[in-house]
């Protein structure tokens, strides 16, 4: 247990010592949970446009994989122009190299299981339909 966090003397978050204080632990838990939920919502939103998008990673076609790798390669080519680079990164922000892309896509072949374990589709749907629609 990190005494520096627990006694409130040091409120900076520093996980480098491999510990979380009792004050930072719930914040970290909530942050990770929020990111999971937000990712799930994004997944759901993208999935609603599946007729145009085919957005699920594990349903990427070979052509999708090639296009994605190409866009990443293009990003690397224009590295010397920060503005263009930034815009390109907005367009293709996920990974750096084609190899990593393949690796990512291979990893996400188990995505259905990940979704099942981490995200509750009903919760996501409810959040989108209720929370957002009523915002």
């Amino acid at each position: 247990m990190s005494k520096s966090l627990d006694n409130g003397r040091a409120n900076k978050f520093n996980a480098s010592n491999g510990e979380l204080g009792k004050f930072s632990r719930p914040v970290v838990e909530e942050t990770v949970r929020t990111a999971d939920t937000a990712t799930g919502i994004l997944y759901y939103i993208a999935s609603r446009a599946k007729d145009q998008v085919n957005p699920t990673v594990n349903s990427f076609s070979d052509a999708d994989r090639v296009n994605f790798a190409t866009s990443v390669a293009t990003n690397a080519v224009i590295e010397n122009n920060p503005v263009d680079k930034f815009n390109a990164q907005l367009q293709a922000p996920a990974v750096q190299t084609a190899a990593e892309t393949s690796s990512l896509l291979a990893d996400t072949e188990n995505e259905a299981e990940y979704r099942k374990d981490v995200l509750d589709p009903e919760k996501i749907r409810r959040l989108v339909d209720e929370q957002f629609d009523n915002a």
Binding site: V32, I41, I45, V53, P55, Q89, L90, P93, A94
Partner: protein, 127 residues
Amino acid sequence: MLKKILNIILPVDPQARDAQIRRNVLRDCARIGGTLFGDVPKGNRREFFCLDERTWVWHEEWTDGSGLRHALTTRYDVRPHGVFKAQDGQPYQPLSAEETKRLYLAAYNYSNKLHEKFDPLLAATAY
């Protein structure tokens, strides 16, 4: 004066302390998110993070050839009928289908990175 400074650095008020921890955790996450897209050139600053369940933020700072400093913040708002982005006060624009898919991939990687970093810590400090 000294008390004021100490209260800022070491807040004893639980709400202030909580807010400070949240900011610091989010900063750490933003830094992790900034590494998803490749090396950040020296002098540049890049952050990508999940602000809340419906908002993602990208922030980049860099210096151009004439030494002028630039900063650009992109905010992605996830709405029931799609994802919209706004850059530095510009009107919201809907994301293309392709960009939505890639934003999702970035989010997916971001979540995985957080789990990679924090799961062992959370497990190690389980009460």
